[in-house]
Every structure is written in C-alpha cells, then in structure tokens.
C-alpha cells in the first residue's frame, strides 16, 4: 500500500495570510465561521482542525498591530463547542505551557477528550517573554534558557496526571453501592525545579488516555523535545528539499529516545492556491500575495527587519540604504517572525537588497517575494500530484492547510483535490478509527502499568 497522506486544516490566525479585504472573507470570531470551517474539513475526511494561540495582542512601535486579523477565541472553549458540530474531526489546540499550570491544562485536555469522544490534541508551545506575561497573574518570570526545561517538566507532569487514573476505577455498581474500585484514584506527587504538586487528579482517564501531542519548535532543542515526547510535529518546512532535510533530521532523532519512526508524524503547514489551470492559479497566487502584503503591511515588515520606525518611507521605492538597528529591544512585540529577523538582521537586509537589485524590485515587491509564498499553486491535478510526490518522497507525512479566506477557503481543496488523492489510493475515503490517534495511525496507548500495545505503521 502506498504511504497514506494526512491532511488537516488550520483555522487562520492573526497574521497576514488571511486576505480579510476579500468580500468572501468572513468573521474570525463568530462561531458560524468555525462551524463551517470544521464541517468542510470533516467533509474532506481531514484528520484534524488546528488552532494557534497568542496570549497578547501584537504591537509594533508601541502600538497594537492593526493590519492583520486581530482577535481570536479561547482555544479550549471553541474546540469543545466544535466537538458538538463534528463527529470525527480531531481538535488540536495550541496551549502555552508557560502561562498555565499542569493540573489545569491536564484537566482541560482530559475533559475535551471525554467531551469529543477521543479527539483532543495539544500543540505544546513555550514562551518566556515578559510582554505576554503582563497579562498573567504570575507574570513573565521565565528565563529564556529555562523554557524548554519547563516545557519538558510540564509535559512530564501532565502525563503523570493523565496516567494517575488507569481507566478501570469507575465501577458504578448500583446494587452494592460501590462507585469506585479504589479509595484514592488519581493520586499523584511531582516535585522538580518548576513544579511541586501533590494530591488527586479529578478527571478519570479519557478515551485516548491523553491528548495527541503536537510540537512546533524548530530549534535543535525543540526538535529533541518533539522527538522525545510528541506524536506529531507542526513544521514550517513545506518544500521538497527543506522538508526532506527536516524529516530526515527529526526522524533520525527518534532512536535515541527509544522510539520507532512511525511514532512521530511530520506535518508542515502549507498554503495553496487553486485554479482551473496552472497558469490561472499562478496569476491568482500573485494577486493574493499582493493583497497579503498591502503597502502598509510591506512597510511594517521592513520596519521589523530594520528594527526602526520608517515614517516617510516609500514602499514602491528601494529598500533602506542604511543597515538595520541591531538591538535586544525590538520594535515588534509578540511576533515570532520578528525574532527570526533579529538573529542576523544585517545579513538578511543584505540578502533582501541583493534580491531587489537582481530582480529590479521595489521594497514592497521584495517583501512579497521573501515572505510567505504559497506552498501549492496550480490546478487540482497539479496540486494533488505535487502534494502526493512530497509525501511519498518523505518530505512530510501530510500537510496542515491554511487557506487565505475564512471560512470558505478550504472548500475548493476539499471539492477538487481530495477526490483526486482518493482516486490514487493515497487518502482515506472515510474515517476508519474512532479516535484521533486511530485516524493518525498511531497505536492506542495502553493503560498505565500495562505493556505497550503493539505498534502499527501509519
């Protein structure tokens, strides 16, 4: 059997992917948008819906960033509501391990897993910044170097909580009056540098045992973290070469954690533009890029890289001739891409200028070229072929698709590309499992204390 493709849908978050100016673009907060998006994904037999999270509104130059979609729901709450309007779709939520406590997150995911009949998944992210910390009672206390260590122990602690109930405690025998088999279910005790907690967990074991674990970190530490404890990686490497390099690297790390290569799925985020022909799709893709990078947005990107305000800058002219301001203080706050820029801004600025010169490009045109080109562009036939080739070539195990129109952007993909993948025998025609783990091809978790279930290949 050919390697099977996994597909998922990312409800677009707060960046410039979404072309909100398009008349077809709907609400990013009304429940109906989420419902329609999820229903479309389920119609396409997708594994799961994915939600990002950001716990402080982004700022630039000391002001709330106003050019992208702003505003989103609470992750747990919206996923629980989506469980009511879907039957099979996995519900993957990003939850920060820095601004939460293990007991609470563990009970929320266990609750979501119960309420969805085994469809919960957690994308574990870490954060350290005091900027976001200002919204939380415990503040931004974490040193950057501690964030993975805290995330690791947070995960370990959450696992101990999920495993504190074995799954056979509830007897509920009306005749004898015995509800529990054991007097102290859920007992746990955990002490380390970050958490010193003990007591009884109050959510009995959920259908999956615990949520499916996603990880998105790209650093060496992040990759090790994922290889050690994640079920799937949400990566950003959607091209063939980069995808294969990432895939090989991360899968290669699994043996040192005693894990099999089928125990971790690599699922890059991907965007797409469909057209009746490849030429039409390319034309639409160019237009979408122009809309995603409005003149105002282009200016903000350039300011982020140059790390300074450029009040009278003309984005239709050349890039700034001077070098970026190198500083630990960034004008952009709450944005991961700005931190990427800050790694070596002078070199990156030189690269942008070189591209401008080579292509005779304006500042805005450079931004259009270097940020967020779509992953899949073409007719349905072309996209189905390309996507399948990438998966068969081990550049990925599947893709998490981010449409540029909410909520209907997924519809053409589901209507046109999914049937082609099904015809080729590389994509399911119906859900086969009852839990998200099943649908992802991950072996069920044994009960704590039992021997690990036989592992099945995905």
């Amino acid at each position: 059997m050919k390697k099977q493709i996994h597909l998922a849908a990312h409800f677009p978050g707060v960046n410039n992917t979404t072309v909100w100016s398009d008349p077809a673009a709907g609400s990013h907060i009304e429940f109906d948008s989420f419902r329609r998006f999820a229903e479309t994904a389920e119609r396409g037999k997708f594994d799961f819906l994915f939600l990002a999270e950001g716990l402080r509104l982004r700022e630039q130059n000391g002001l709330i960033y106003d050019l992208d979609v702003v505003g989103r729901p609470d992750t747990f709450t919206i996923l629980a509501a989506l469980a009511a309007v879907t039957e099979h779709l996995g519900l993957t939520g990003t939850i920060n391990s820095t601004f939460n406590e293990p007991y609470e997150v563990a009970r929320q995911f266990a609750s979501l897993d119960h309420l969805s009949g085994g469809r919960a998944a957690w994308n574990v992210v870490t954060s350290w910044d005091a900027f976001t910390g200002e919204n939380f009672r415990r503040g931004g206390f974490l040193a950057q170097g501690d964030r993975y260590e805290r995330a690791r122990t947070f995960m370990a602690t959450a696992n101990e909580l999920w495993d504190s109930w074995h799954g056979d405690e509830i007897l509920a025998d009306k005749e004898t009056g015995q509800f529990l088999r054991t007097p102290e279910p859920g007992a746990f005790q955990h002490k380390d540098e970050f958490f010193d907690i003990a007591g009884q967990f109050n959510v009995p074991r959920s259908p999956q045992g615990r949520p499916v674990i996603f990880q998105a970190g790209d650093s060496d530490e992040g990759r090790d973290f994922a290889a050690a404890s994640a079920d799937a990686i949400f990566s950003r490497h959607s091209t063939l070469k980069e995808g294969q390099a990432f895939y090989t690297d991360v899968k290669g790390r699994l043996p040192k954690f005693g894990r099999d290569r089928n125990e971790l799925l690599i699922l890059p985020a991907a965007t797409f533009v469909l057209g009746d022909t490849d030429a039409e799709a390319a034309e639409i893709a160019r237009e979408v890029r122009r809309l995603q990078v409005s003149p105002q947005t282009a200016l903000r990107f350039i300011e982020q890289l140059w790390n300074t305000e450029l009040p009278d800058f003309d984005v239709d002219g050349p890039l700034p001739a001077f070098d970026p301001v190198v500083s630990d203080t960034l004008i952009s706050k709450g944005r991961a891409s700005a931190r990427m820029f800050a790694k070596d801004p002078v070199a990156l600025a030189n690269d942008w200028r070189a591209r401008a010169e080579a292509g005779n490009l304006s500042a805005r045109e450079v931004v259009i070229e270097v940020t967020g080109r779509q992953s899949f562009i073409g007719s349905a036939e072309t996209i189905a072929t390309t996507l399948n080739e990438l998966v068969q070539a081990d550049a990925a195990d599947g893709y998490i698709l981010v449409p540029h129109i909410t909520p209907a952007g997924l519809v053409p993909f589901v209507d046109q590309v999914v049937p082609l993948l099904q015809e080729r025998g590389v994509y399911r025609t119906d859900y086969t499992g009852s839990t998200l783990r099943d649908n992802l091809g991950l072996a069920p978790l044994g009960r704590p204390g039992e021997a690990t279930a036989t592992r099945v290949a995905s």
Partner: protein
C-alpha cells in the same frame, strides 16, 4: 406578606448524578455516563424544554468529597468530573435559548484565561453565557497548584479571626478577579473591527483598551485577545451564605445564589445584600437574588418523602445540603417559591436531588404549575441570557460617551 404575581426566574443546578450522594444509585440514574457529552446535552435540552433561564454546572479543582474542606477516601460516592466551562461549550450548540453558567474557581486560575473562555462561550452560544465564580479555598486544591499556601480550613474553626481574615482576603481577591473579567470583556469596543481596505487596517486600535489592572494579588495589562462578547458582559453569579460573600455578590455579581432557611431568613439576606448594593453605588443596577433549594419532586408528598428517605438510607446518612431541602409535589414547591418570593427573592436555583428524575418533574410539573399561576414564562422572550434576566446590554466602560 401577600404573594405577588411578578414572574420569577428559574435555574437548575446540575452536578453529577444529582445533589444527593446516593442519587447515582437510583433506577433511572446513568452513573456510567457522567463524563459523556450525550449525558450533559440531554440534561440541557430537558432544562430548555422547561423554559428555564439558565443552568449552572458545579466544578472544583479537587476530587469530590463529603467534607467541604478536605479529601476523603469514600468509594460509594460519585467522584471525577469534567471542566464545567467545557461541558457548557460542548452542550450550548445543541440548544438555542437556555443560558449556561458554569462554575470557575478564582483562587488558582488566570483571570485572563477565564475571561476569554467565558467570552468564547458567549460566542458559541450566541449570547447565553455566564459564569459562577467560586473562591475554592481548600488546602488540597492549593497543593494541586503548588503556588500558594492555604492553611487547612475546617467547618468548626471557620469563625476563628485568622480564618475569617483569610476568607475575607479570598473574597476580596475574587472581587478583583471579577473586575478583571469585566474590564477584559470591555477591552474591545463593539465596533473595533473595521476592515478598512484603503488604510489596510483590520481594527481601529483606538477602540481597544489596556485595562491596566493592578491589585493586591495580581496585575493584568490587557486588552483581551477575544473581542467583546455578544452580550457585552456575560452574566456573573456567586453563591453566598454569609456577610463576606454577600459583599462579593453586591459588589461584583449580576446574580447571587443564597440559601435561606425560611421566608424571614430570606428577607434578612435580601436586605443585607440590598444594603451592600447601595453602599457600593449599584443601587440602580439589576441584581438578582436567587434562593437555592434541593428538590425531591413526586406526584405526592408522601412519595417524595419516601424517596428522600430511601436515598438517605442508601447513602448511610441523612443528606444535609447548605441549602434547604424540599420534598413534595410541584404544587407544594410552587407554594413555597411563591411565599419566598415575597421576601424579595427574584428567582430560584433548584438543585435536583436526583437526575434525571427531579429535573423532569421540575420541567414537566413545576413549570406548568407556575405558568398556571402566572409566575413563569410560556415561551422564551429573549435571545440572550441577559435578555431573559432583564439585564439589558450594558454600555462599554471604555467607550467615549
């Protein structure tokens, strides 16, 4: 006092298999289903058929125990529960009118998270969300979080001055907590999303506001990541049995749940809360005071009393709740509610002793009885919970007049 014909409000308090500790052993109980969406959806739909204003869902950050302040090792009680906010969110899309008021614990959780969770519940229910805040002062709960020391409390030393100060502090913290929830709900003005193509702006950032809350226990910057919810301000409720919580109700809540012993006691509690309400400058605002009652309803009083007795025998002890119990017929309960209403209570939160039995009687017997007496709605008259409670949609505190 003369019975009034002012319509009253009705809510049902859902918890596990019902409030009686032996409820899960009743013939129609579904003790294996307590952690399923289907169970909660069925209850919510039943409550909605009875045209109830809202349902509440109990919660706690510890395993249930008979002792209010400490864990126990009993194996004959329902133990284990799901997060109440998530039960509400999972259930709300399967209903259209009834409000959802899940319990949230204020002592350990983040107000920023809870604010957006309740705002989101308001979005997924199209304006039917509320939250019941509970302080959750238990040393075993504190140990689950490890971030703050809470000395063990016991029922018999609760009057001790040191304990009283601790309790006062926790309730003051809860008041700060509600203030943060409310400011965050207002931190976006209703028309902040503009989608102005010529200027490329999705929002008008002048309509987003830092809340800059700084209190004794925490500070929160804001604004929320979630836009202002449909109701503007979801409904806030709190349960109280004494002066300190009454002050929280008066200062911060839209609904107080109270536990009177009788009509005179109800009048006393209402007077206390109204006085506090005036002191905090909220005299002009609608503040509901609901009486809580544990209910055992049957076709005859003797059947209800016998059922209570059977439940008590099975539990091995007489069940005493913080709220008064009523065992009898729907007509008898209607008489009692009508009498208590004269004390100034504006509604009732009924705690079914056993589910689904007492909820079914509530909706199929009590409600029609109250309707006959002109005391309860014959159809949902509003689309939002605030609307059902006559609260109106509040202006945003940050919007320029």
């Amino acid at each position: 006092m003369v019975p009034t014909s002012t319509p009253l409000h009705l809510a049902v308090a859902l918890d596990g298999a019902g409030w009686h500790p032996a409820a899960w052993r009743e013939p129609d109980a579904q003790p294996q289903q307590l952690l399923t969406a289907r169970y909660w959806t069925g209850l919510a739909q039943q409550a909605e058929r009875g045209l109830l204003d809202f349902l509440t869902i109990e919660d706690g950050l510890n395993l249930q125990s008979d002792d209010h302040f400490a864990p126990d090792s009993r194996t004959d009680r329902v133990k284990g529960r799901l997060d109440a906010v998530l039960i509400a969110a999972r259930t709300a899309p399967a209903t259209r009118h009834i409000g959802f008021v899940p319990t949230a614990i204020t002592a350990y959780t983040e107000p920023f998270h809870l604010s957006k969770a309740i705002a989101t519940l308001d979005y997924v229910s199209a304006g039917r969300a509320g939250v019941r805040v509970q302080v959750g002062v238990r040393s075993d709960t504190a140990a689950h979080f490890g971030r703050r020391e809470t000395p063990p409390l016991r029922a018999d030393d609760i009057g001790d001055p040191g304990r009283q100060q601790l309790i006062t502090d926790y309730f003051d913290e809860a008041a700060d907590y509600v203030e943060v929830l409310r400011r965050l709900w207002d931190s976006w003005e209703d028309d902040a999303e503009i989608r102005d193509v010529p200027t490329g702006r999705f929002i008008d950032r002048d309509k987003l506001h830092y809340i800059d809350f700084e209190g004794r226990w925490f500070s929160v910057k804001g604004p929320s990541i979630t836009p202002r919810p449909p109701q503007g301000q979801p409904v806030v409720a709190a349960l109280g049995h004494a002066a300190v919580p009454y002050r929280l109700i008066a200062r911060s809540a839209d609904i107080g749940f109270v536990t009177p012993r009788d009509t005179a006691h109800a009048a006393e509690i209402v007077a206390q809360i109204r006085a506090e309400q005036a002191t905090t400058g909220r005299a002009e605002q609608t503040l509901h005071v609901f009486g809580d009652l544990v209910i055992y309803l049957d076709e005859s009083e003797s059947a209800a009393v016998a059922r209570r007795q059977r439940l008590d025998e099975r539990a091995g002890t007489e069940y005493h709740s913080d709220a008064r119990s009523f065992a009898g017929t729907a007509a008898g309960l209607a008489d009692l509610l009508q009498e208590w209403q004269t004390a100034g209570l504006t509604g009732f939160r009924l705690r079914p002793a056993a589910l689904p039995h007492d909820l079914t009687y509530l909706t199929e017997k009590l409600v029609p009885e109250l309707q006959r007496r002109g005391l309860f709605r014959r159809g949902y008259e509003a689309d939002t919970l605030r609307g059902l409670l006559g609260l109106g949609r509040p202006a945003n505190r940050y919007a320029a007049a």
